[in-house]
Amino acid sequence: MADDILFELLHSEIINYSLEQSKDNKEKKDMDLSVVEYIGFAAGYKIMERLTREWPRFKDELDTMKFICTDFWTCIYKKQIDNLRTNHQGVYVLQDNAFRFLTNFSNGHQYLEYAPRDIGIKMDSDGSKNLNHNIRSIAAYSIIKEIQELLGTLTLR
């Protein structure tokens, strides 16, 4: 079984790789994250298939979200999610105040604009997870950043 640090290193290399792929359109500030997203999606989809193979089907949306926020989140991101809000119409806001792949960023404004790149991959593993359970989902997520870059908010719809 592989050690955790390998995944962290691989993660940053994937970001690195996708940045290189999209460096032709350098003038644009918002990077093309589709590669990262695709990788996150594919990996997320498959891991969910494996994890829940022998489980009873999730009862409803809430059940799925509960799974994501407790079991899955603690497994992958090593901590409980800090806050989950919902408007009961299918929008969930997940908040993690010390997201695993962002804690390595230094604590300042300097790299703030780069942070979204890093988040992409995990977003999609969430998105695909839902998809895998036939819940109308993924469609949208957004990252709302506040001064501390470690605050990533994600909305699943």
């Binding site: 079984m1 592989a2 050690d3 955790d4 640090i5 390998l6 995944f7 290193l9 691989l10 993660h11 290399e13 994937i14 690195n16 790789y17 792929q21 590669v35 695709y38 990788i39 996150g40 999606f41 594919a42 990996a43 498959k46 891991i47 494996r50 994890l51 489980w55 009873p56 799974f67 407790t70 079991d71 899955f72 603690t74 497994c75 992958i76 090593k78 991959i121 593993s125």
Partner: protein, 176 residues
Amino acid sequence: MSRQTSRLDAKKVNSELLTLTYGALVSQMLKETENVEDVNKQLERIGYNMGVRLIEDFLARTTSNRCLEMRETADKIQQAFKLYLSMQPTVTSWSSSGDEFSLVWDQCPLSEWVEMPNNGLKYCALIPGAIRGALQMVQLDVQCWFVQDQLKGDAVTELRVKYIKRLEDAVPAGED
């Protein structure tokens, strides 16, 4: 029936996530590039970059001392495989001059669930890259290549490591 929080084995899940993420990366690369050689090179470079940073973690965790000869280095590499991938490759086939050896394994977490296209892809190119990168950080210049690959139908996977020279200058050549 309520679901218990402990139903997932965190270590296993993370390990599988690594495998699957790596798989997704490779398949994405194949989609983007026609040339398989380019993919191999890219993977090797990703491995290299990872190795460069992995060695620090390794040294911190194991408090290893300086290796005086290649046999010690081989032991350390073996130890690293165990530490990071929980696999136990055998070190064999030393050359008579003692500067070249093989690592042989028959199971690797990275290559689980993999179906290979028949096009010369070196799926595990990450590993030789990582070894090269890590050793370069401790002033050892080595060459690493696959002799046999299970994914290509061989019985085992054999990775050959060859000592080239000691790097005198502590500043490694940048790879970009």
